[in-house]
């Protein structure tokens, strides 16, 4: 099979499926913590494990972390952080892990907790579940992520936006959640390929087999996905007039409120990303020394 080096293949832990790949970047999704070590060993035999992403209904503080998980790059999608007391007690263990924690943005407490975790050196982020968002709170989190003068761990998706932003390109931060078919492809146990996690769940496959991945560039679904943004300009949606279009691309079209709160947030995030670029440009070049 031709390798598409830039794609990470996202799949469940299925040893039979994994054995068909060689030299690929593989990301495993799971709904439990069982078999984490086995996953690590099996995938890394002939491929590279990008991370294991666990989607669970347990709060962070109710998870019992095992010491030997510290070799496994882990991403956790959790409903909440849990009690602060327990979190502080767990910190020494968490800090040994190679860990990212994502909480749903719809709960205001989660937004505070993401900042809490980041302030203590834990890579954390929000993800957008399909529920009403407190845009003001998200704005505060974005401001913290981009402007805080105190050191902290990255906060997603703002870290991604700041670090990947280029002024002459749009930026799809769905990549943070593996939903960018230019970087991630989702494969089911039968080897069929979907462009996003949602499409995989819905059984909508772009390719009947992973063996066809090298035809992706010409694949109609793939092309349509990458040109779907043009609909906004054909239909002249509110998003097409948004000053922050380039880093959002209409993700919140269905939930635009009268104050255009999403626009207010992303305009500030865009300015933060530009500041970040500017600061990095001004860093002095390294000078070779003995």
């Amino acid at each position: 099979m031709n390798k598409l080096k830039r794609h990470t293949l996202v799949m469940n832990f299925d040893e039979n499926l994994i054995s068909k790949f060689n030299g690929e970047n593989i990301l495993i999704t799971s709904d439990s913590f069982n078999l984490l070590n086995r996953t690590y060993d099996v995938v890394n035999q002939n491929n590279k494990l990008v991370n294991v992403t666990v989607y669970t209904q347990s709060a962070l503080t109710s998870i019992k972390f095992l010491e030997n998980w510290n070799r496994i790059p882990l991403a956790l999608y959790l409903p909440s952080m849990g009690s602060y007391r327990m979190f502080f007690h767990m910190l020494p263990v968490l800090r040994q892990m190679n860990l990212r924690i994502y909480l749903p943005v719809s709960n205001n407490q989660n937004i505070i907790d993401v900042q809490m975790m980041a302030s203590l050196g834990i890579f954390a982020g929000i993800y957008f579940d399909k529920k009403p968002i407190n845009w003001e709170k998200v704005k505060e989190l974005a401001f913290y992520s981009q402007y805080s003068k105190s050191q902290h761990a990255p906060v997603e998706p703002f870290h991604h936006i700041s670090s990947k932003y280029k002024s002459d390109e749009t930026l799809d931060f769905n990549a943070v959640y593996y939903n960018d078919p230019n970087q991630f492809l989702h494969i089911n146990n039968e080897g069929k390929v979907a462009l996003t996690y949602q499409l995989l769940k819905e059984g909508k496959f772009a390719l009947e087999s992973y063996l066809q991945i090298n035809t992706l560039k010409e694949n109609e679904d793939f092309v349509n996905y990458n040109t779907a943004w043009q609909r906004h300009f054909l239909d002249k949606t509110t998003c097409s007039y948004c000053p922050a279009w380039r880093i959002c691309m209409g993700k919140f079209e269905s939930s635009i409120d009268a104050e255009k709160s999403c626009q207010q947030l992303f305009v500030e995030v865009l300015e933060g990303a530009e500041n970040h670029q500017e600061k990095n440009k001004r860093k002095p070049e390294k000078v070779w020394q003995l």
Binding site: Y84, R85, F88, L91, I112, Q115, M116, S119, L120, E140, Y144, S148, K149, S150, Q151, H152
Partner: protein, 337 residues
């Protein structure tokens, strides 16, 4: 060291309390939120000041007090807590358990105690319980509001509970516009004499006394100054400068007695140094306009040399509080700075 108010609530009702008016004007359930705390910690971190004091009201009354201390420890902050030592059993047990792994260089308590003869039995027992458990973290604070104060019990506490061998002695100051117990200027000399009477005992017990701000130098004779100098190892303070207090609502003021005077907000500043500069400037401008607590302060060489501030600034502002014209002139001078 700056002070962060966790809560406006207090269990006690000390007659000299200089936080009285501030607390009466603010909602009792106004406590510092996690968001504001994180902002404050970042603010101080970015200012390269990784230490501050936690105050109230009574900081232990904050529902998340323990977690706050644990958080500050994780952020590598050195925390000093001003407390009465009076708290519920539940809070006490929790503190014992959770502070066990913390070392005294990460956490310290300044326990503000009152004369046992003027304290209820139950309160006294609670305080002693605290001192017994956290003696190695704690030092004592005592506020003088009467000329005939007693310090013997302080010596006893330090010896009995193994406390740090230092007493912070504060002089209760008047709050502009409020009637709180304090020593009037004409009673201060007697207060000073009374203090000097305790120095031999403190020396014998190897306990040092340090003055909080606002103690006038002229209260002591030259001979007394020499004794004090030796007692304090040369560390004597007779000046009054900005402390920097931050309220739960992120408002900032220079010190509690002046908590309603030139209040600002933390969001107006980029760092702690800026706040100090702002309030120093304000106080210096004011001090140039008004003399200290005594008439003689106006021509005092020690004041000119900035060895003494002429007592608490709040004293002087308090005087002007009932003189609108003078207050207006003072405002003008400060605003023009």
């Amino acid at each position: 060291m700056a002070n962060i108010l966790l809560t406006q609530q207090c269990i006690r009702s000390c007659p000299y309390c200089f936080a009285k008016q501030h607390m009466s004007e603010n909602a009792p359930d106004d406590t510092l939120t996690w968001e504001n705390l994180m902002y404050i910690v970042d603010f101080f971190d970015a200012s390269n000041e990784k230490h501050f004091s936690l105050l109230g009201g009574e900081p232990f009354l904050h529902p998340n007090f323990i977690d706050i201390v644990l958080y500050l420890r994780e952020r590598k902050f050195r925390t000093n807590v001003f407390t009465s030592g009076v708290m519920s059993n539940k809070m006490f047990e929790e503190a014992i358990k959770e502070f066990a792994p913390i070392t005294p260089n990460q956490l310290s308590f300044v326990v503000n105690v009152n004369d046992p003869k003027k304290t209820s039995f139950s309160e006294l027992e609670t305080v002693k319980r605290f001192l017994r458990a956290f003696g190695h973290f704690s030092s004592l604070s005592f506020n003088v509001y009467r000329e005939d104060f007693d310090m013997d019990f302080l010596v006893q506490y330090i010896n009995e509970y193994g406390l740090k061998r230092h007493i912070r002695l504060g002089l209760a100051h008047p709050i502009p516009g409020v009637k709180n117990s304090h020593i009037k200027p004409d009673g201060m000399r007697d207060m000073a004499k009374n203090l000097m009477s305790f120095i031999p005992k403190l020396n014998a017990n190897k306990i040092s006394v340090g003055f909080d701000c606002g103690m006038p130098m002229c209260l002591f004779t030259d001979e007394e100054m020499g004794i004090l100098y030796k007692h304090a190892g040369g560390q004597l303070k007779f000046t009054c400068g900005p402390a920097v207090d931050v309220g739960p609502d992120m408002s900032v003021w220079t010190c509690f007695p002046l908590s309603n005077y030139k209040k600002t907000t933390l969001f107006d500043f980029d760092n702690v140094q800026q706040i100090r500069r702002y309030y120093s400037k304000m106080m210096n401008a004011g001090k140039s306009e008004i003399h200290g607590i005594f008439e003689a302060c106006d021509d005092c060489e020690w004041r000119t040399e900035k060895l003494c501030s002429g007592g608490c600034y709040a004293h002087s502002v308090s005087k002007f509080h009932n003189e609108p014209e003078n207050l207006r002139k003072l405002e003008e001078v400060i605003n023009n700075e």
